[in-house]
């Protein structure tokens, strides 16, 4: 049913939910007629704005929720035709449901992953135990084995949950927002771990996330939730085709295709040319953009800044026949913002002048 190399695919999949009206049930669709494939051994990220139906898609693909229309195929069968135990051997999940259970330790949690393999009493065989040990080592939670769950940090708990999914020993792992609630180092750690699992252990991994930067860097494939459609592709292609921009376009934010990141600040001031040491230029640009200047690398501008220095930086500001040397970014910004200095001739300065 699936093409070779594809582990999961959808046929005209429409996801959504039923809303109860006073008189009848009304279906609300979030994704309409999607035909998408998940490639074996790849890390795929689902991206989309809040409310775009990421979670609903994830829940539908895992079989937790029924699709409004269409089918989900896993390996060689429709997902709804799987016996629950068979499905559990093909697909493991990390959900956003809270899991902290009194008295439960990390080892117990990971051991739960063997559920579909153990007998009716839940006895762990030698093979089960070695799989648990492997999952614990691979997910890098060895030092936490005997810790109760409530003592773990959010990042550690997420790793323990990934270890549980690993112990379930499935070719496909689906994770719903594994990086939410985590700080930046932990987000990177989780994404690196998942990247490693895909590359080194051949796992197929699908996850939803809000981390645009990380997804662009780490994912083999992106699924963008654009309107009611899903656009798939390699991250770089989606950036260049503007699909990325369209997905996340919002008032007051601009997507910079050169850097692949969103700018929170919209330029409103005069343009400034910046040249010099690359590292110095990078941070100078950031400061200037925050202040609302348009930064250009080449061409004519009424003000230009040259960044000099290797260990101690220096900013030489030229414009309107004046010259100023600063030793900190703070000094540079203060100088640029001072109306009496280089702001002569800028639009905002003229406004101020007429007010006077």
């Amino acid at each position: 049913m699936n093409k070779p190399g594809t582990i999961l695919s959808t046929e005209n999949l429409t996801t959504g939910f039923y809303k109860k009206n006073r008189f009848r049930k009304v279906s609300v669709s979030l994704t309409v007629a999607a035909n998408i494939q998940l490639q074996k051994g790849q890390l795929t990220c689902v991206l989309g704005v809040n409310g775009s139906g990421k979670s609903t898609l994830i829940r539908t693909l895992t079989g937790i929720q029924k699709p409004l229309e269409g089918e989900v195929n896993l390996s060689d069968k429709r997902i709804k035709d799987y016996a629950s135990r068979k499905l559990a051997k093909k697909l493991s999940v990390v959900l956003t449901d809270p899991v902290v259970v009194k008295n439960m330790q990390v080892y117990d949690l990971v051991a739960m992953g063997r559920f579909p393999y153990t007998n009716g009493w839940g006895h762990l065989t030698k093979a089960d135990k070695s799989k648990i040990d492997w999952a614990i080592t691979t997910a890098e939670v060895t030092t936490l084995t005997n810790q109760p769950l409530y003592e773990l940090s959010d990042g550690e708990l997420q790793k323990a949950l990934i270890a549980r999914a690993l112990a379930q020993d499935t070719p496909l792992m689906i994770l719903d927002e594994p990086t939410s609630h985590l700080d930046i180092p932990n987000r990177i750690m989780i994404m690196r771990l998942l990247r490693k699992l895909a590359r080194d252990n051949g796992k197929t991994i699908l996850l939803s996330t809000h981390e645009l930067d990380l997804a662009l860097q780490m994912a083999d494939q992106l699924w963008l939730m654009l309107g009611k459609k899903i656009i798939t592709g390699v991250p770089e292609d989606l950036v260049l085709s503007k699909a990325f921009e369209q997905t996340f376009r919002k008032e007051g934010e601009t997507f910079n295709r050169q850097t692949g990141s969103f700018q929170v600040h919209t330029p409103w001031r005069k343009s400034i040319r910046v040249q010099g040491d690359p590292t110095g230029v990078f941070w100078t640009k950031r400061a200037l953009e925050r202040e609302g200047f348009i930064v250009i690398d080449e061409g004519v501008a009424s003000v230009s800044i040259e960044v000099k220095g290797v260990e101690a930086y220096e900013w030489v500001i030229q414009g309107k026949g004046k010259k100023m040397t600063c030793h900190t970014v703070e000094c540079m910004i203060a100088y640029l913002n001072d109306k009496e200095n280089l702001r002569q001739g800028t639009a905002s300065f003229e406004n101020n002048k007429t007010e006077k």
């Binding site: 899991v99 902290v100 009194k102 008295n103 439960m104 117990d108 559920f115 009716g120 040990d133 005997n146």
Partner: protein, 366 residues
């Protein structure tokens, strides 16, 4: 003491990442010894004190100096002690399953209205057949009527459980469940008061005595009925041990690990219905044991594994109920207290302790 133990295991570097259940086994043996000690004490003590040696002689079937002692022990105290053990075990195990299934630390047969549902079943049968419910009338019932009462109580308990499941799947809120439990209790009270309105004073008094709870109303014949019901419930529970562990992680994970949610729910509800319903039919609504004992056994064994928690809860429940019965007899006097008052006196502090640790509880269940 438990905290200290935890700290030791946390600081000691473990050679292997595997666990061992040796302390659990040792504790279990200790509890069995304790159970026998309390059983002996429960049979010995009462308005007439029988020496331990004589009790053992009578149980062993040997002759005794005092024929009255023989009658007291074989006809009254032994059935009562076994009833206490069965009731304590059944209510506690029912409470354990409900706390896990609903992921709610305050769940228990009496709190969620399961015992009320069972009482309602009994009350409706009694009302329609014109019998009065009291330990005296229960004593005079035959075996078929005994089964009828069990059937009514179990049906009542399962009906309430189904209602709660229906609500629990729609509204994921612990408080809502507790409110539903209270409401079911109110409905029972309302129906009972209608019954009382049309009853004569003797019947009202009988019912009041029944609501106090009683372990002494079970004859040897009825003890068999009760034991079979409780045993069936326990067997179902043991079959659910693995599933109960999966339920700890919530429905989403349980389903993703290949648990047949519907089948497992039916198993757990039937087990809970048999356990709580069976006991309520014969002993009346006994409160607090079902909610308190699972917490005690979790604290004592420091595990969340139902393969250990089920026997542990059963043992602790039995011991606690025997202790309550000994207290209710007020040793050394010829007065006695209603069992429900004693379980409330002992159980309420545990419930308060549970609520005071709510911070930890929020993290551990919801």
């Amino acid at each position: 003491m438990i905290k200290k133990k935890k700290m030791e295991t946390a600081t000691l570097p473990k050679k292997s990442i595997h666990h061992s259940n040796k302390p659990a086994l040792l504790l279990m043996v200790l509890l069995v010894v304790l159970l026998f000690a309390f059983m002996l004490a429960d049979i010995m003590l009462g308005s007439v004190r029988v020496p331990a040696i004589e009790v053992i002689r009578i149980i062993a079937g040997k002759d005794t100096k005092n024929e009255a002692w023989n009658n007291i022990i074989t006809l009254i105290r032994i059935p009562k002690a076994f009833t206490a053990m069965l009731a304590g075990c059944a209510l506690s195990v029912a409470g354990l399953q409900m706390q896990t299934l609903f992921r709610n630390p305050l769940a228990g047969p009496s709190v969620l209205g399961i015992t009320s549902g069972a009482s309602l079943g009994v009350a409706l049968v009694m009302l329609s057949s014109g019998m009065a419910t009291s330990m005296y009338t229960i004593r005079s019932l035959g075996i078929p009527q005994g089964w009828l009462m069990v059937l009514a109580a179990v049906a009542g308990a399962i009906m309430v459980l189904l209602l709660i499941i229906m609500i629990a799947t729609r509204i994921r809120d612990n408080v809502v469940l507790l409110i539903v439990g209270i409401m079911v209790g109110n409905i029972t009270l309302a129906i009972v008061s209608i019954w009382q309105y049309y009853s004569n004073p003797q019947q009202i008094q009988d019912f009041l005595i029944w609501t106090f709870g009683s372990l002494g109303g079970v004859t040897r014949q009825h003890l068999v009925v009760l034991a079979v019901t409780v045993l069936a419930g326990l067997v179902l529970t043991i079959f659910s041990a693995k599933a109960l562990n999966a339920w700890l992680l919530g429905e989403g994970y349980a389903k993703s690990m290949g648990l047949d949610i519907l089948k497992s729910r039916i198993f757990i509800i039937s087990a809970t219905g048999l356990l709580a319903g069976g006991v309520t039919a014969f002993c009346g609504p006994i409160g607090f044991v079902g909610i308190a004992v699972p917490h005690l056994s979790r604290a004592l064994f420091g595990t969340s594994d139902h393969k250990i928690l089920i026997p542990a809860t059963c043992l602790i429940g039995s011991i606690l109920m025997l202790f309550c019965d000994i207290m209710a007899q007020l040793p050394g006097s010829d007065q006695s207290l209603p069992i429900n008052a004693v379980t409330a006196l002992l159980g309420s502090p545990v419930v308060i302790w549970v609520i005071l640790r709510q911070n930890q509880l929020r993290m551990s269940f919801s």
